[in-house]
Amino acid sequence: MTAEAADSTEAVGSVAPAADPGFLQRHGGAIEYVLIPGAALAGALGVFGIFVAMFGKNPLDLYFYMYYGAFGTWFSWQNTLTRAAPLILTALCTALPAQLGMVIIGGEGALLIGALSATSAALVLQGMPPLIVQIAMVIAGVIGGGLWVMHSGALRQYRGVNETISSLLLVYIALAVLNHLVEGAMRDPASLNKPSTREIGAANMIGSIPGTDVHWGLVFGLIAAIAAYILIYHTVFGFAARVAGGNIRAAKIVGLNVSKLILTICFLAGGAAGLAGMVEVAAVQGRTNANLAAGYGFTGILVAFLARQNPLAIIPVAILLGGISASGGLLQRRLGLPDASVLVLQGIIFVFVLASDALYGRIRFLKGKS
């Protein structure tokens, strides 16, 4: 295994691809998975540059400030990574059900319910040691978000209700529940202008990774993504899920319990987004209010599609899109672009990425027969 790996790295290092006729046949597929999304991204940036130029801004300035605001300084890197953390988790909410062939777009709802559950847990356990409160918040966030998305899975399996539409409707219902509780039963009387719950307390916040301003939520995200990757590609359960996603009839014939697969995967997916909500409460906001509906759930859908639903690929893609949203503030201040420009760019990227699906297997030189 190690010898083989060393061998292949040597081949990449010493032999130029063109000189090795077998190289593209062996690695063409992998290259395709990097090259095509990369080209789609470049195309989207190009179109966005033209769009911005129509409003009299210099596209080169745009690219410079985007790079500078996302990855130019240590400060912007930290900003980027802080935003990437919830994106990794909400992207898993779309990517995990996608293994079963389901399109779930309700990550935003699970995030809100997760945040609400985690806040409730912290408020109930006030006065307990912080570690216990934090663990309870994680559990509450995961269960809250998990059950929320599990509804969509159960409705699909038992009632034949389309999961894409039901999960999106549940986002609006989650927002209504949050507003109802935050302005009613859970309202902190001291929060006048912005109705909020009481604060979970400074001691219960999860804090930053030592030496940085990046909170521990990033580590939660990395662990969740790696765990999801192992679950899907290296366990029997994940194999069963991919079989059911590929051919549901074959899965039933070999005796797989499809209902159990769907419910479990949807629970884990919602749990990931619920954890994102817990992280936003315990590391950023300190309480639950309408600020939590910041669109991380919707950007997560884009992350999952750009990563082609692969849990490991989600990590770099989430950092990239976290960077784009981190640079939004700088674009606003330096170029006078409206804050919605990040949304426009995300939309253009999404459209390009989906259109690029048509290119797979069609680039001739990648098949090794030039």
């Binding site: 399109v103 209700v161 219902i173 599609f305 426009v344 459209v351 989906l354």
Partner: protein, 308 residues
């Protein structure tokens, strides 16, 4: 009664007025989506189309002073977004549901971007016809102030119903939706039929958006549409792809959506947000009742990916 106070009767009246006023965007989006889905493709991006339509209608109405030009601009914007959806979907191996989600984000983002300067100014709004002239009670008069677009939408539903059944175009759209092979065998391009159906669907959804910004609520801001577009797409499914049922369902939805503000106006403020979520809860409930895992829905176009 003599003093004009009608007490709790305000609530059903407001719900009736709401059914007329709030239902119009639902009606236009669902009729548009009905055409698109009958051709065998689903466009989830109509939420974005609705918001873009609202923004462009408001902008054009403000610039030209004519709200009807605004309505036209909204329709054209919607048709262009529909063409974009159909164009991408006609590429091989591209999933129409995913493209819809992408256009939902793109449309809303673009509308917020272009609409930034439109939040302040006031644009001329669409006129209303007063059907409540016979009454002295202000609430009745308010409930019966009907917009022309609503009447157009109500007329459109039976026209579409008839067109699907008897006209050449209706048959072609249904053929493309039931069996693309059959349409191809007849010598028609399925992609072209679906392109046109999606453009018409986008046109109607854009007009639905213009109603939001030019009549009710009647201004442009970023919170204008919160899911009306997607609710209307779901509505088509339980209206069984029937334009007449779309009309009744839209009216029911408008009534449900007016419940929250109506209760608030008589002083019932607790649960305001929950009542505002009534249309979504209603959609979900009706989908749970009417869908079945055992069979595909009656009336579902066979080519539609979402019914499987």
């Amino acid at each position: 009664m003599a003093d004009g106070s009608i007490g709790l009767w305000t609530v059903p009246l407001a719900v009736l007025g709401g059914a007329i006023r709030v239902s119009t965007p639902f009606l236009f989006v669902s009729l548009g989506e009905c055409i698109t889905e009958r051709s065998g493709r689903i466009n989830l991006g109509l939420e974005g189309t609705l918001v873009m339509g609202a923004m462009s209608a408001y902008g054009i109405s403000y610039l030209t002073g004519s709200p009807w030009l605004g309505v036209l601009a909204a329709g054209i914007t919607g048709a262009l977004l529909g063409a974009l959806h159909a164009g991408i979907c006609s590429l091989p191996r591209v999933n129409d549901v995913a493209v819809g989600i992408a256009l939902m984000l793109f449309g809303t983002g673009l509308a917020f971007y272009l609409g930034k300067p439109l939040i302040e100014p006031t644009a001329p709004r669409l006129p209303a016809i007063d059907f409540g002239w016979w009454s002295d009670i202000p609430q009745v008069r308010a409930a019966l102030r009907v917009n022309v677009l609503f009447l157009i939408g109500v007329a459109l539903a039976p026209i579409l119903y008839w067109a699907f059944r008897t006209t050449r175009w209706g048959l072609l759209i249904r053929t493309a939706g039931e069996s693309s092979d059959a349409a191809r065998a007849m010598g028609h391009s399925v992609l072209l039929i679906r392109l046109r159906a999606t453009m018409v669907g986008g046109f109607l959804a854009g007009i639905g958006g213009s109603f939001l910004s030019l009549f009710y609520p009647g201004s442009w801001n970023e919170g204008l549409s919160s899911g009306q577009g997607i609710t209307a797409v779901a509505l088509v499914i339980f209206a069984r792809w029937d334009p007449l049922l779309c009309l009744w369902a839209s009216l029911a939805f408008g009534g449900a959506a007016a419940l929250g503000p109506a209760l608030q106006s008589v002083g019932v403020t607790s649960g305001y947000h929950l009542f505002n979520a009534a249309p979504y809860i209603l959609t979900l409930a009706i989908m749970i009742i009417t869908c079945s895992p055992k069979r595909t829905l009656t009336g579902a176009p066979a080519e539609l990916s979402i019914t499987r």
